[in-house]
Symmetry: C2
Subunit: 202 residues, 2 copies
């Protein structure tokens, strides 16, 4: 049977190997650049992940812009926290979900005018981080012109990070992105009859 000393020695050796491996990977990563991060998939945690990165960015003193496409009409915690923050410019397309409006022309016109805010942020070199929450639906529904969206994203200031959320991210968004995470449900409380919960879901 292995003694505690032997176990500790084995642990130390394994961790030394792991440290070498991690250090090598860290040494290989030397570039700094503005990233496009896409959070997609059907699971819970895409927008919250984006707002977590926003929280980090605000914590570091970075200047941030948020544009939320299609949101429900209830008051969201992220809006309550960040919309009054001096480092954050916050815009919401407050028409409600597209199945609430049931009016395609009105949705398109809301999407286009909300996108103007995104474009202004993506052209402003003073803005370090831009969060485009639920942008993917605007492309899926054809409410925004994908060519224009891709072009504006590509031509943004080189240091600027962009975080994009929503299901079914467009292939061109995925191609453009530096980091893409897919969030899938293993379990979801809503399917067990639990209402959306303040703080967790909105």
């Amino acid at each position: 049977m292995e003694s505690s000393n032997e176990r500790n020695a084995r642990h130390k050796k394994a961790m030394q190997r792991k440290k070498e491996h991690v250090d090598q990977r860290i040494a290989a990563a030397t570039t700094d650049k503005g990233l496009v991060v896409v959070l997609t998939g059907n699971g819970k945690g895409k927008s919250s992940s984006a707002f977590g990165m926003l929280a980090r960015s605000v914590g570091h003193g970075l200047r941030c812009g948020v544009v939320q496409f299609i949101k429900g009409q209830w008051e969201c915690g992220e809006h309550l926290l960040f919309s009054q923050h001096p480092q954050v410019e916050f815009h919401v397309m407050n028409t409600g979900f597209t199945w609430e409006t049931q009016d395609r022309d009105a949705d398109i016109s809301a999407a286009v005018s909300t996108w103007e805010h995104a474009e202004a942020l993506l052209q402003n070199a003073n803005v370090d981080v831009v969060l485009l929450d639920e942008l993917t639906y605007m492309l899926t529904y054809g409410y925004l012109d994908a060519d224009r969206v891709i072009r504006v994203l590509s031509e943004r200031p080189a240091h600027q990070h962009v975080i994009i959320t929503g299901r079914n991210a467009n292939d061109r968004l995925i191609e453009l992105a530096d980091t893409v995470s897919d969030v899938t449900d293993i379990k979801h409380a809503f399917n067990a009859g639990v209402r959306v919960q303040k703080g967790i879901d909105y």
Copy 2:
């Protein structure tokens, strides 16, 4: 060729059906309860998602507790933003990653004393949301006793939400959880030689 009016009418009908479906699902979800949300998988976005939910919770005026297990030694944006916030109690196991310490006994003792903070939060009915960042590793490595962790989580105040992050979430955690999201990498900037970026990664 479909006219604009026809297209709009078709859209309206589809959205009416979608609204019926969504409304039915919302009507079926009637329970309120403290949730256990687990964010696991190898992709980027688990801790940031948890901190996004924390941002929402703080926005709504909820009282929150954070315990971070194994973190690097650099200053994280989430800590900068939340650790001084009057609604948030924030604890960090600041030993660094386990491959940095290379000392199993020291790691166990740090994990156990960090867990004490988690336990106090999980027994305090005044705390609405508890975030246990990177807890899963403490169970995988056997640094904490899984029976005790599961018992304390199960016996917490009924309204309290708990958010747990980390790769390879223990089966018993998944069983206990109400919502489990799996985050996988489709692409990661780090693999293309990009350094960890302030605001996005820490």
